[in-house]
């Protein structure tokens, strides 16, 4: 038990180095494309982490996560275009987006989080589908399916500054969520994932926990949506489509559910794989159908990393450690038995 903090601090060092590298990367590479790609990666990493709170920690599959992402994106876009592109308005829009997302999570959660896996997933699919229709139909506000452009706050027109903002958000959210999942509250979420009925009979009001989890996930997704809108300075209904949800889902699963670092890695794998594969298509005609290779990537991921990259690597590591330690452990066990007799 006492070893834990030590390991944590070792891990923290690794994290710090990675963040440091990411912070200087744009200077080293000195390419705005790379900066934008890194920005997108950070935004989707935030989205994927938020999804993991549902899927990985609470065991809830949602097919409607794009709804919250879209709420954030639209709130920011609408407020910036209506009230002017200042940092203050941007900050306010993030807050409004989060509040809206939270309210919607509470309502839909209270209605249906009692439902079992598929059913909840299908319900969220329906609700987010309705949001998509709403965004298309409420044209006075959303300009419909084509969407609209708007001006970002002056500061963020410099992509580098915006990248730093997004990176900071990623780090802060990571730390915050890490905290939450490692807290007593987080332990209860995991218990719900494992056996909800038993959790209840231990005296935990699971519905409350599930709603809070979906509020957290929804709020973080909304933040990701706000950042996404700024990164494009444009919004249209694509932010509410199933594609966004599926992206979040795939990133989480590829990286490893139930580990926060997993979704980040998953986001990286998918964003960069997509970027480079479609780049290959430009240079080599065989890659014209690069999406096939992208699909194969998913298939291989499941076959070689059944628990996601992080999950599988850490499992292999533990197995390896166990094998190494087995001889000694077995003899210890034997001795203990002897003493008992």
């Amino acid at each position: 038990m006492l070893k834990q903090p030590l390991i944590l601090s070792k891990m923290n060092l690794v994290y710090a180095v990675v963040v440091g590298v990411m912070a200087v990367l744009p200077f080293v590479l000195d390419s705005r494309t790379m900066t934008i790609l890194l920005t997108q990666f950070c935004i989707f990493a935030i989205l994927a982490m938020s999804y993991d709170i549902l899927l990985g920690y609470t065991g809830i599959i949602s097919f409607g996560h794009a709804m919250f992402f879209g709420i954030g994106a639209y709130t920011t876009a609408i407020m910036l275009s209506d009230y002017g592109p200042s940092i203050g308005i941007f900050a306010a829009s993030i807050v409004v987006g989060i509040v809206l997302s939270a309210i919607i999570s509470v309502i839909s959660g209270a209605l249906t989080l009692r439902l079992k896996s598929h059913f909840y997933a299908m319900f969220t699919l329906a609700v987010s589908g309705l949001f998509l229709v709403l965004a298309e139909k409420w044209r006075t506000v959303t300009k419909g399916n084509d969407g609209f452009t708007f001006r970002a706050p002056e500061l963020f027109r410099e992509r580098l500054y915006f990248y730093f903002l997004v990176l900071i958000c990623l780090v802060v959210i990571f730390i915050l969520l890490k905290r939450i999942v490692a807290s007593p509250f987080g332990k209860v979420l995991v218990a719900i994932r494992e056996n909800e009925q038993r959790t209840r009979s231990l005296g935990f009001k699971t519905l409350g926990y599930k709603i809070i989890a979906s509020v957290i996930a929804g709020s973080v997704a909304s933040l990701a949506g706000s950042l996404y809108a700024i990164s494009l300075r444009f919004v249209n209904t694509s932010v509410l489509t199933m594609d966004i949800t599926l992206d979040a889902l795939m990133m989480t699963i590829i990286g490893g559910v139930g580990t926060l670092i997993g979704p980040i890695i998953g986001a990286g794998v998918i964003e960069f794989a997509q970027h480079y594969l479609s780049g290959l298509a430009r240079d080599y005609p065989i890659f014209e159908r690069w999406i096939i290779f992208f699909g194969i990537l998913y298939i291989l991921a499941v076959i070689f990393f059944p628990r996601g990259i992080v999950g599988t690597v850490s499992m292999r590591y533990h197995e390896w450690k166990l094998k190494k330690g087995q001889k000694t452990k077995a003899s210890v066990k034997l001795r203990e038995k002897e003493i008992q007799r």
Binding site: Q40, K143, T149, S238, Q274, R282, D283
Partner: protein, 397 residues
């Protein structure tokens, strides 16, 4: 591979400085002009993307007489696939503007992608030729001065459609998919048709993904219009059901835009309908188009240019013509005044960038869909060429 530009490492740094040294003519012969083209090369809209691509390449050749040079400067083209995703479009556009340091942007196959890229053109002060995205807002509410559109916009479609069928006392019902594309199309059409004295008796909208349109068609039958004007896009089309429910036998004439060749194949049930066309290679009668059709056939084993091929072609011509005017200077701010009001020859005849919103005014065609011996699909046959002025849309920016 001809899509990409190789060996541009040395030139990148040069052209990056282009912004400052743009007015000094001395560099002109050394540095190439770079054009970045965004198109959907994969996904549902890939056939549009490919049309643009083929057209653009031919257009460059045509406009430079095969030299691929203008005012002594080579023209290089870089292609990027937007995958019909706005965030990818922005990523790719930024790559083009930053890493490739292109002087012009062209694109793209989807209005969403295009809208997302518009602010970048302004930020980098580069001319962007919009082709073939149609949303009115591109040259309307979302307009910025660096945007020039060679594609026709939704309103032009609507005016063409109205010109083809509307008249004093004609009763028209409309049928469109239930989202922006449909609503925009119908409202523009309505304005145009009513302007011509027609009466819109019913506006029906249907879920574009629906499997069954009978309910909507039933209502249209009940409304007993003279014409049914249909705005549609996408593979899941209502044509079969319109035929099955015998609207034409019930005295309701159908009218719609003639789309690309693939989609025309699905319109067998609509043979006889009168509507409009943006382009079919048999429609325009001019040298440029003849050249395009010939060369396209020669180059792409006998295939003829399709709906958006002349668009790509036109975009290339517009760029070359503009550069000729500026003496090879690709600076955005220099070009804007030169391009405003510029007229140029295209496969669809003379086009002119309207000064106010940079929309190219262009010919459209009133047509009838007919079975013609040498084609295995229904072909739009020319009734009348609609002059650019006839389909001039309102200025919305």
């Amino acid at each position: 591979n001809s899509d990409s530009t190789d060996g541009d490492d040395s030139s990148t740094t040069n052209s990056a400085k282009q912004g400052e040294s743009g007015t000094t003519e001395t560099a002109a012969s050394s540095t190439p002009i770079k054009v970045g083209v965004l198109a959907s090369l994969t996904g549902a809209l890939e056939s549009y993307g490919k049309q643009t691509k083929n057209g653009f390449e031919l257009g460059l050749e045509y406009a430079t007489d095969g030299t691929m040079e203008v005012e002594g400067r080579k023209i290089e083209v870089v292609w990027e696939d937007t995958e019909t995703k706005p965030e990818v479009a922005v990523q790719k556009a930024t790559k083009l503007l930053e890493d490739d340091a292109v002087d012009f942007l062209v694109g793209s196959s989807s209005s969403g992608d295009t809208l997302a890229v518009l602010p970048l053109a302004e930020e980098y002060e580069k001319i962007m030729i919009v082709e073939p995205a149609v949303a009115d807002s591109i040259t309307g509410s979302e307009f910025n001065p660096y945007i020039f559109r060679t594609a026709r916009n939704s309103s032009q479609d609507a005016y063409a459609a109205a010109a083809a069928i509307a008249g004093e006392g004609v009763k028209i019902a409309t049928f469109a998919p239930d989202y922006s594309f449909g609503w925009d199309g119908v409202s523009a059409f309505k304005a145009a048709a009513e302007g011509l004295g027609a009466e819109i008796v019913l506006e029906e909208y249907a879920d574009p993904a629906a499997t069954d349109f009978t309910s909507n068609l039933q209502k249209i039958i009940d409304a007993k219009p003279d014409f049914l004007f249909v705005v549609w896009a996408g593979a899941n089309s209502p044509w079969n059901q319109i035929a099955d429910l015998k609207l034409q036998e019930k005295g309701i004439k159908i009218s719609t835009g003639a789309p690309d060749i693939i989609a025309l194949q699905f319109m067998e049930p609509l043979v006889g309908m009168e509507g409009f066309s943006v382009y079919h290679h048999t429609l325009p009668k001019n040298e440029v188009n003849d050249w395009l059709v010939e060369e396209h056939k020669a180059r792409f084993n006998g295939e003829v240019p399709d709906l958006f091929t002349p668009g790509g072609f036109t975009a290339a011509v517009a760029i070359v013509e503009a550069l000729k005017k500026s003496g090879g200077d690709a600076d955005g701010n220099t070009l804007i005044p030169l391009m405003e009001g510029m007229s140029f020859e295209t496969p669809k005849g003379t086009m002119t960038f309207r000064e106010e919103d940079h929309q190219a005014l262009q010919a459209m065609y009133a047509i009838r869909l007919e079975k013609v011996a040498e084609f295995d699909y229904p072909v739009p046959v020319l009734l009348r060429e609609l002059l650019p002025e006839e389909t001039e849309p309102p200025i919305l920016n």
